[in-house]
């Protein structure tokens, strides 16, 4: 009956006040349960006083609690958070830079050499280079110098043949 009444009451609760009320009731239940059935309860204490097995168990659990409290109470140096944060931020930055490089490396493909890359244009380039060379040689007057040297040489040879074999033969050999 009492339970039903309690249920009615909780059902009628709404919103935030209901939640806080539920919380309070839960807490109250837990407190009373631990008072009645926890290690501090008088009937438990009475039993423990006369039972060595339970004494050992409780002592072991108390030891665990003591260990946990010891760990909680051990202080770390004041600047530990600062050091940890700095190291983490440094590492984050470093990894970001590395990641960009890694991505580039992941996407990298073998690059062809310059000669292989422009093989299709090789003939055209050679032709252009030859034209430029001919133009350069013409501009420098090398071809006219060749002509001059040839005609000079011919004149010398004609003169030699005239002196050695006569003018008629020399005229026939160097007709042009």
């Amino acid at each position: 009956m009492r339970l039903l009444r309690f249920r009615d009451k909780t059902d009628s609760c709404e919103g935030g006040s209901a939640t806080s009320r539920c919380k309070r009731i839960r807490q109250h239940l837990m407190d009373s349960a631990s008072r009645r059935f926890g290690p501090e309860a008088s009937w438990v204490q009475k039993h423990v006083a006369s039972c060595p097995r339970c004494q050992r168990r409780l002592a072991a659990m108390a030891r665990v609690d003591l260990g946990l409290s010891t760990i909680k109470s051990q202080p770390h140096s004041l600047d530990l958070l600062m050091r940890a944060n700095s190291a983490a931020v440094r590492m984050l930055n470093h990894r970001l830079r590395e990641a960009a490089r890694d991505r580039r490396l992941e996407e990298a493909r073998p690059e062809p050499r310059l000669v292989e890359k422009y093989a299709a244009y090789r003939a055209a380039v050679m032709n252009v280079a030859a034209c430029i060379a001919i133009l350069f040689l013409t501009k420098a007057g090398i071809f006219s110098s060749f002509d001059k040297a040839r005609s000079g040489g011919q004149a010398v040879m004609k003169q030699y043949y005239t002196a050695q074999a006569g003018e008629d033969l020399a005229g026939e050999v160097f007709k042009s």
Binding site: L66, L80, A84, M91, L92, N93, R95
Partner: protein, 186 residues
């Protein structure tokens, strides 16, 4: 003095905020929000400052490089669960190292280890046993006792009810007590 410390902290956070890439700034905000609690929890689990720094870095790197670069729905839950897992992994590694080293030193020269009751020994023993607990019990102990979170928060993070969290903690303490008692008897 306090105001000075606070201003230094603010300065540090703004510098860190600027230093980090824009896409990762929410991580610095998370660091600012939960950093203190995380460091405290890591310190309680590991008990070594260098290990704490290493584990802290690992946690935030994992957060930054989540799959598909997605931001977790509940950052606090992600951070605390990752912290618990990372810390336990580091703790186990250290224990293996210690075991190997002690075995080697025992081979070199026989030593008599004094097993006096002292706080340090007790804390070390407890840490060692916590690392051996089953995952569901260990998570509750680490979050509740080392992380200092309330039962409702622990329950929400682990996706269990508050009552289940209490039961798991109780079971974990019983198991720890049993193991520590056994160790004491040996």
């Amino acid at each position: 003095m306090f105001s000075k410390a606070v201003s230094y902290e603010v300065l540090w956070h703004s510098a860190a905020y600027q230093a980090v890439d824009a896409s990762q700034r929410w991580i610095v905000v998370a660091m600012q929000q939960y950093g203190h609690e995380l460091v405290t929890m890591l310190w309680r689990i590991l008990g070594n400052e260098q290990d704490v720094c290493d584990a802290y870095q690992t946690i935030f790197l994992r957060l930054a490089y989540l799959e598909d670069s997605r931001r977790p729905q509940w950052v606090k839950a992600y951070l605390f669960r990752t912290a618990s897992n990372v810390a336990i992994t580091v703790l186990r590694e250290r224990q293996v190292e210690k075991k190997t080293l002690s075995a080697m030193s025992r081979m070199d020269e026989p030593q008599v280890v004094e097993r006096d009751f002292d706080a340090r020994h007790l804390a070390e023993s407890l840490r060692r046993h916590v690392a051996q607990l089953p995952e569901h019990l260990r998570n509750v102990i680490t979050l509740r006792d080392f992380g200092g979170l309330s039962y409702s928060e622990v329950a929400r993070i682990l996706g269990i009810s508050s009552g289940t969290a209490r039961v798991y903690r109780c079971k974990a303490v019983q198991l720890l007590a049993l193991w520590m008692n056994k160790e004491e008897c040996q």
